[in-house]
């Protein structure tokens, strides 16, 4: 299999396969925390969003926030996963200053969501299916700050108790490219669903990445866990480094120690954080303060009914109904707002032409200027108007790019701009013929040459466009030239 072998890493002693599994933590989009009414707002003064429950005051009890449950179910549905009508909350016990209860409430044996699947459309056109093992709800911890006081550490509990979804993949990922695509896809899905803002910079989405290597066909190797990755780019770099580190050890006759490692983006390497021996015994047991989480099928169906169109469905529709190229469709559905922008532009127009303009000109410019989609100075209506002018033959593709530039920097109605700035191309064949006649008359040598070498017609086209200041309709110019030159 050509595709499979291309993912292999060449070592000194032969090919290696990298096996990756990911645990993604996504903060649930909700007003209040998982088990208390405190706000989940990012930022704010330290300990401003802390209730008695979040601070683990004596006698306080958790009460499940139903919106978080609904968000987890929606996400499960978006991952085409099995929704478990009965799940349990467990306590994961360990001591840490930013864990006020001395345990994290999580779901251990019986998660709210079971097996599902995510499809990745790779750049080379390959479709890769990654299994989802489970999704469960759990509390986030607070934050320890060690740089505020010479001898003490401070604790900020604003995040303490915020709801997280932990989404565990199967070890189905086979390259850093796939890992990056998986993370990107997961972010796209939760954003479509509105179940997490997927904001990695603010830490509302992060991943633990399990990496091991093996000879193709061999059983799984010993894995190392790369903890707390919060950038897609770093995930790719860390996996590349880690896989090569492991291969190096194995090829030297060594063995891999199962351990937790941290990626240092400055040095571009991973380093050991703790070994398996130092791993905690979390003493999981069902939280006696919380009843089992139960709901019926009707509850799930009600949520399913209101799900938005998911990226894969949208992609399929763009390909089959609008006739887009699969690659373009994949690009456009990567963001819900991008897809919506495209659809607005494409409505009533040539969809592929619209896709080309949205992707190449508009999105290219957005990315170049590091803008958010909502910050675009060119609206969907304006871009649509530009495309309409091309279609109507009023402007050429080249003029359209100039027009786009004007609309981008100065704004305004494209049709009016074309009118006012005299950008409309000349389709009056009489005027074009006059220009052509003059050029033919002035350049008898060229006329002789083009008869020998018809491709020289390009020179004539150039002269005509120059003489018409680019406004002559290129199709008309071509046709008339051919007629007059007898080509």
């Amino acid at each position: 299999m050509a595709e499979a072998s291309s993912k292999l890493i060449k070592g000194a002693t032969g090919d290696w396969e990298v096996v990756i599994g990911m645990e993604i933590h996504a903060q649930v989009a909700s007003e209040a925390k998982l088990f208390s009414g405190s706000s989940t707002k990012f930022g704010g003064e330290a300990n401003a969003h802390v209730s008695f429950v979040d601070a683990a005051m004596p006698g306080m009890l958790p009460v499940i926030n139903e919106e978080c449950v609904r968000q987890a179910i929606r996400t499960g549905l978006g991952l085409k996963a099995k929704i478990n009508n009965r799940s349990l909350f467990d306590r994961k016990n360990y001591f840490y200053p930013d864990l006020p209860q001395g345990y994290q409430i999580s779901q251990y044996k019986d998660p709210i969501v079971g097996e599902g699947e995510v499809v990745l459309y790779m750049l080379d056109g390959e479709e890769v299916r990654i299994g989802v093992e489970r999704l469960h709800l759990e509390q986030d911890a607070g934050k320890s700050m060690h740089d505020q006081h010479p001898t003490m550490s401070f604790v900020d509990l604003n995040r303490s108790g915020v709801a997280l979804m932990e989404i565990v993949s199967k070890p189905d990922i086979r390259s850093s490219e796939e890992a990056k695509a998986y993370m990107t896809k997961m972010r796209t899905i939760v954003r479509y669903l509105g179940t997490s803002d997927g904001n990695m910079e603010e830490g509302s989405m992060r991943a633990d990445v399990n990496v091991s290597v093996r000879r193709p066909g061999d059983p799984l190797g010993t894995r190392c866990e790369l903890k707390n990755m919060n950038s897609i780019r770093f995930i790719g770099q860390a996996i590349e480094y880690e896989a090569r580190r492991q291969i190096g050890i194995l090829e030297d006759g060594g063995s891999i120690d199962q351990e937790t490692r941290l990626y240092d983006p400055k040095k571009g390497e991973t380093r050991s954080m703790r070994s398996k021996e130092e791993a905690h015994d979390y003493r999981y047991f069902p939280d006696p303060d919380l009843l089992p989480l139960e709901f019926d099928d009707a509850y799930v169906e009600e949520l399913r009914k209101d799900l938005p169109e998911l990226p894969d469905d949208k992609r399929d529709r763009f390909i089959s109904d609008l006739g887009l190229k699969p690659y373009d469709a994949s690009v456009l559905v990567a963001s819900k707002r991008l897809a919506a922008f495209f659809e607005k532009v494409a409505t009533g127009r040539d969809a592929q032409l619209a896709a080309n303009w949205v992707i190449n000109e508009w999105l290219g410019r957005i990315n170049k200027e590091s803008l958010d989609i909502d910050q675009s100075p060119v609206s969907a209506d304006q871009l649509g108007a530009i495309i309409d002018l091309i279609k109507a033959g009023d402007i050429s593709g080249k003029i359209a790019k100039d027009l786009f530039e004007i609309v981008w920097t100065e704004g305004g109605d494209p049709a009016k701009i074309v009118e006012e700035k005299g950008m409309k191309q000349v389709t009056d064949t009489g005027a074009i013929e006059a220009i052509i006649d003059e050029i033919i008359a002035k350049n008898p040598d060229q006329v002789e040459k083009v008869k020998e070498k018809p491709s020289l017609i390009g020179w004539f086209v150039g002269q005509v466009m120059k003489a018409s200041q680019g406004k002559a309709n290129p199709q008309a110019v071509n046709q008339i030239l051919k007629d007059k030159l007898g080509l």
Partner: protein, 490 residues
């Protein structure tokens, strides 16, 4: 005027309604009595100013004819309950100086019904114990002594402060809590009535947790009627405790009809344990005879899982406790003993803050939840728990309530050297099954033993059928005769 502290809650309620005395007078009598009873060490925190303030408000209400069910009734609150602005330590050093900013649902319910707060009552540290000797603030003395003796005896535990205070007439009634017998055993040791209602009947919000799946609030009072009055106010469904149950709270006083004719009373053969003192056996038989005489039908039943209840309880309760007590780490509130680093601080704080019984249970709990032991201990204990429930379900198909001794002995001497903790744990042998099954159980005085010490019988009921317990306990109380107050020696 008679000593107002001699009145039961029902009597005081009537006297206040008839304006024979004021809530302020009643409260003042109790404050004096409390100050004269320091030897008993029942109160950890006294709140006389707060009490008088609340009594004054009650008097205003009474004057306007707007009395609520417990208007002006002075109560003691177990130190386990969080009370806004008043220290709540669970009698542990680790909660040193802790004053909650919130009021537990149960105590709030009492205040909302007009009750007056006298102070906080001693208990075994974190409710772990059967004598109240594990309290950081020193042991509580039982107001009862054997006839002709001056030896101090334990009031039982963990709600020993509540039981001693009620028996000594230094509160009209008290809140308590029961995880394995902590209401019923001290009630039996002090000649008082204590009911542990069905799990979920009272909210646990604001009660300092010991073992969440077993803890339940309940009252200790002088009479069955007083206990019924108190539970009616304490019980409620609470959106802040999702394990509380949304069922209407009946008028428990109305259940005190005195009529048990035709009621079927189960007598479990497994409760006739080896080495049970003859006087306990005889007292049990006495209870059977009383109920028979009142027209109830006695039915022999079997609860075969009984013998496994105590060992299973001493896995489940410490397991939950080991996790519930993890929050006491010196970081946020209570005691902090500084160390070289965070782990050193944890270790020093917890070493200094917890007493030996609490440490023992944290160690047991940590052990039974550890990887490799969880299945063998915790999981099996939970299975036993299900089987215990099945035992009761089966028994309640044929009987309405179950009669057993409350404790294997009467109150024993204070400072009795107990080297084997298991011997202490045996105090709970008749009571833990009820917690494991989540059922209601009431302890009611049933006369005195040969030394003149109170004895108690336990009635176990169906889930949420506290009414049958009150009715049957009322009949036993009537037959045994309400105990006089212990002779005052303090």
């Amino acid at each position: 005027m008679t000593d107002l502290t001699s009145l039961t809650i029902a009597e005081a309620r009537e006297g206040l309604a008839k304006k024979e005395f004021t809530a302020t007078e009643l409260t003042t009598s109790y404050i004096k009595a409390i100050d004269g009873a320091d030897q008993l060490n029942a109160y950890v925190t006294k709140t006389p100013e707060k009490a008088l303030e609340m009594a004054k408000a009650s008097d205003e209400r009474l004057a306007k004819g707007e009395a609520r069910p417990l208007e002006g009734i002075p109560l003691g609150i177990k130190d386990l309950y969080c009370t806004k602005g008043v220290g709540a330590y669970a009698c542990s050093h680790i909660l040193d100086g802790f004053k909650p900013e919130y009021e537990s649902t149960v105590s709030q319910n009492l205040w909302d019904d007009g009750a007056v707060m006298l102070g906080k009552l001693a208990m075994d540290e974190f409710a772990m114990g059967s004598t109240t000797e594990t309290s950081y603030f020193g042991p509580v003395k039982n107001p009862w002594r054997a006839e002709g003796e001056t030896i101090d005896r334990v009031p039982g535990g963990s709600s020993g402060g509540s039981a001693a205070a009620v028996a000594a007439r230094i509160c009209a009634g008290a809140t308590a809590s029961d995880t394995g017998g902590s209401i019923r055993q001290p009630a039996a040791f002090t000649g008082t009535v204590g009911i542990k209602p069905t799990y979920g009947r009272c909210s646990r919000w604001g009660m300092i947790a010991f073992a969440s799946s077993l803890d339940q609030a309940g009252p200790i009072a002088r009479t069955v009627r007083d206990a019924a009055i108190m539970l009616k106010s304490m019980a409620s469904v609470d959106p802040k405790d999702t394990t509380s149950v949304d069922l209407p709270v009946p008028d428990y006083e109305a259940a005190l009809t005195g009529n048990v004719k035709g009621m079927r009373i189960g007598i479990p053969k497994e409760y006739r344990v080896d080495g049970m003192p003859e006087e306990v056996e005889a007292n049990w038989q006495q209870g059977i005879d009383w109920l028979k005489a009142a027209g109830a039908e006695i039915v022999d039943i079997s609860l075969p899982m009984t013998k496994y209840a105590l060992p299973a309880y001493y896995i489940v309760a410490p397991a939950e406790a080991s996790s519930n007590l993890a929050r006491y780490d010196g970081v946020k509130y209570g005691l902090r003993v500084n160390g070289n680093d965070i782990v050193d601080m944890y270790e020093k704080t917890r070493a200094a803050g917890f007493g030996s019984e609490v440490k023992r249970r944290i160690l047991i709990g940590t052990y039974v939840l550890s990887a490799g032991y969880y299945d063998a201990y915790y999981l099996r204990a939970q299975k036993i728990r299900s089987l215990i429930k099945q035992d009761f379900d089966k028994a309640f198909q044929t009987v309405d309530t179950i009669l057993t001794p409350a404790t294997p002995s009467a109150a024993f001497e204070l400072n009795k050297e107990i080297t084997d903790p298991v011997e202490m744990y045996l105090n709970d042998i008749f009571t833990v099954t009820v917690n494991m099954a989540g059922l209601p159980g009431i302890s009611v005085p049933s006369g005195k033993n040969g030394q003149g010490l109170p004895m108690g019988l336990q009635l176990i009921g169906k889930a949420f059928d506290e009414e049958t317990l009150f009715r049957t306990a009322g009949v036993l109380e009537e037959a045994a005769g309400i105990l006089e107050a212990p002779a005052k020696w303090w």
